[in-house]
Symmetry: C2
């Protein structure tokens, strides 16, 4: 293995100069730098990250904590993170925490146990107090994306506002009996988004002067299947029926669309459906939705983190943007 000494020897300089020339820290004359870079190149020299980290205390590695790898939102945020971190020469260490408490525990230990990262991004994980403490105790920059954590710097949409917007869209169209399909408590435990969206829904309903009696709620699990079954229950239950459905995610909403179709209820004539996400499938289904931009959220979080690492205080945090996209699944109710 070619080491820094080999390069130093071949280039006729000291190891310190090689280090400076290659890392860009400290001053080296242009000529020397060039020579060093060239010999390093020709010798096939590459720094040893462990030696470098040990000596400098920097790892050029950031840890990313995600609860799911196979859900659209999470994998998209991860892509965004990855795109900027890779470009800036940082590695990503992935910590996939699951419901399994033991495994979860292990992950948090692992942070301490290995001090392997310069910073951490937590993607929509609801951390309990101890976990949060453990993380903050690491004394490295941490940022949360997509799930508010009161004690962490957070980049996320305002779920309450987004849900209000979606509900108000339905209300503005004239719907008076609206339904919300969220997620059940089990799901909420790890990820408080559904209940915040519920809050936004209820607020909008109340502010419109409607009674919550007219605002049915069903719960699903953020999947197409879940939305489908919830909607079947919703539309299949005897009694006055909701004319507008607000689903907590686009996948849920797509499930609702499929269920309505199977029940012979036309959309939007028989029932209007709106989701949240701006999922890649939403356009395909003509789904009205409040789009958020997880890729950008990930990218922005990563950038903010790097800015922090590099001392630049980072631009003032603005909440993540979202936008109502009206397509063909919502319309005024028939009467």
């Amino acid at each position: 293995m070619v080491s820094i000494d080999d390069v130093a020897g071949a280039a006729g300089v000291s190891t310190a100069t090689v280090s400076r020339a290659l890392s860009g820290r400290g001053h080296v004359s242009a000529a020397t730098r060039e020579r060093v870079v060239a010999t390093a190149q020709s010798l096939g020299y590459v720094v040893s990250s462990s030696a470098s980290s040990l000596a400098s205390g920097r790892t050029r590695n950031v840890g990313v904590i995600v609860p799911f790898l196979d859900r659209w939102f999470f994998s998209t945020v991860l892509s965004g993170i990855s795109s900027v971190l890779t470009r800036r020469g940082f590695d990503i260490t992935l910590y996939n925490i699951t419901a399994d408490a033991d495994a979860r525990q292990k992950v948090f230990e692992s942070f301490r146990q290995r001090r392997r990262v310069d910073a951490i991004i937590a993607v929509a994980v609801e951390l309990d107090e101890r976990e949060t403490e453990r993380l903050t105790g690491l004394d490295i920059p941490i940022i949360a994306v997509g799930g508010r954590n009161p004690s962490l710097r957070t980049l996320a949409i305002d779920d309450v506002a987004v849900a209000r917007l979606a509900t108000e869209h339905l209300l503005t169209l004239g719907h008076r009996r609206v339904a919300y399909i969220g997620a059940d408590a089990a799901y909420d435990l790890d990820f408080h988004v559904p209940s915040r969206r519920q809050e936004g829904f209820e607020t909008a309903v109340r502010e419109a002067g409607l009674s919550l009696e007219d605002a049915v709620q069903e719960s699903a699990d953020f999947t197409i299947q879940g939305g489908y079954h919830a909607t079947k229950r919703l539309l299949g239950t005897p009694g006055p029926r909701a004319t507008g459905i607000f689903a907590a995610s686009d996948e849920t909403a797509i499930g609702a669309l499929l269920a309505a179709r199977d029940l012979g209820v036309a959309v939007p004539q028989g029932v209007s459906v709106i989701g949240i996400d701006g999922h890649e499938l939403s356009e395909f289904f003509g789904l009205t939705t409040v789009a958020q931009y997880p890729f950008e959220q990930g990218a922005r979080a990563a950038e903010a983190l790097l800015a922090g690492l590099e001392g630049t205080p980072g631009a003032e945090e603005t909440p993540a943007p979202y936008r109502l996209i009206v397509r063909s699944t919502t319309a005024a109710p028939l009467r």
Copy 2:
């Protein structure tokens, strides 16, 4: 920061003993070990991964290369990998290579440049010769999952066989005009699976004594949208129509289902549809499919790799399993 010397001092032993007690390498009396572990615990000591790696040459970190993060197959494989690696105390460093050649280049450099991993898992990435060389030149264990690479140890289903099986299912039911929806060349460049599946399709067709003239082909991109549009073209083209569609992925097949529905073609009466994957949505749609098990593929690959690292030669490689699951989207053609 508490170091190994602090622990050694407090426990009244040498640093070597602390290292042995904590790492499990070498012999330490049970009593000493206990004492060391206890003091380490109480002091809040954690090893420095860089120091440890530098001294031992081991990183307890494996690199995972994936081309996509937001596609079912990839994220599921990744989950599988993550579950076993985490359990065994290994970290995973994620390398998301994209189409962007520059970024891609950078990733490969990064491997050399940082020598940060003990092993590598390549998930369904088609690597060119230089890239493969670079990887094998690292001289660490490498395993490919989900995409055959002739010069790498590979864990994957036999795509040709799987495609044959799917096609033969259609043929066995009596279909004589069958169609294949694969993926176009651009997609194939990075990921040769579609063309292997096409090969299996064609083989089955020929072996059934049919002419390839009766075997239409369309291409999509492994997504629901893609499958939808391809199917619309397929079923909307004048002339004799295929009665059975073999889609290269479940998502493609689901798109086909939706397209058929929109065209008023009943499934399976008007057209049969079969996919490949065993995607979580396939059951929901009643889709007949050849299931593969990406989570298990990831897990097995990770285990094989670890076995390699630990000197255990690893069980003989058996190809990844798959299974035909007949549901309600395939039936004998009407006549």
